[in-house]
Amino acid sequence: MYSVDGTSRKRFLSLMGASGAAALGALAAGCGSDDDDPERAVDDAAADVAIVNYALSLEFLELELYRRALDSDFFNGSERELMKTLADHEQQHVDALTAAIGKLGGRPAKRPQAKFDLGSRVTILKTAYRLENLGAAAYLGQVPRIRDRGVLEAAIAIHSVEARHAAALNALLDKDVTPTGAFAKPASMRQVLPVAQLFIAR
């Protein structure tokens, strides 16, 4: 569908080795609108690498949050078990997305330097609630844009798990498990990246 544009492909692939924060910032600039734009000649694999690296960056943030939550004294009993489960899942997501990028011939984004307010149990839960719901919306926004079948299969398998995670955190905070009702709302990179940036140290 798109002509191969060597310049764009090189640009995306070189971005993918950048630090997490730089990669996310570059993605915001490089992805432009989420509409399919034939003017923007991007190699299919490079486009998928950009999407997967975007997902990878979000997973890195979630993983780091749960690691720090477990390091804190705030979580015991069943909540601690939940944090452990979530951390384990996010680690598996990181591994799978990293492998997917390798298969596409791209370079995985580096782990961003995360910054979280870890002052209390509620602060941590609220951050987790934000990130998981954001992540679910982000995956939903990207699923129709993914070209490679294998990448799509991985994204779908992760998307519904992120939704389960989000529901668990919503319930813990006495919020709706379905905050947008019967139909989940997708979020674009333009909507997600500024929020993700809040949790990345410069």
């Binding site: 939704a163 709706d176 139909f183």
Partner: protein, 203 residues
Amino acid sequence: MSRGVEAAVEVRAMTRSAFVLRGALAAGAAFGSATAAPFVRGALAQAGGGDVAVLNFALMLEYLETELYERAGRLALSSDVARLARELGAQEAEHVAALRAAVRQLGGRPERTPAFTFPMSDEKRFLSLAQSVEDVGVYAYNGAILALRSKELLGAAAGIGQVEARHAAAIRLARGMTVAPRAFDKTMTERQVRDAVRPLLED
């Protein structure tokens, strides 16, 4: 049972046409279109006949879930679980309406609801059955997403599938179970889903 579950699901009272439009808008929003019309045009342009079949299959599952929650309401349930059944059931009914409308918009005919039989005499059995049904629903939507040709419909199906995953989590929380059994949710083919739900279809 977690207090959070009671307050968990927000019910929005909407007219039927609003359900349909909302469903179409939910799909349209993924592509930046502000109205349902581009979604319909886009979907018609891209969808093969296969897409109608996929949507009709998803519709069958939504009929099943709607009926499950409706019948659960007639059991002796705690107030928390009764409320959960009502609220999840209301959302499944919205899914039915949206899928029926989508099938019609594609020029297809929405299938009628099959007759179902649910072996559940009490709250415990209802919740156990609901968990299986919702989990299968997640796996079915994951399969449907892969089977759809139209990108717009894929986005719409994923938007419903995400909500099914949230439902599955809510039921699991009500049972004190882990919300996500695995880091990656399975994908089921239509055949696998039909096999899984066959015991619930009345012959």
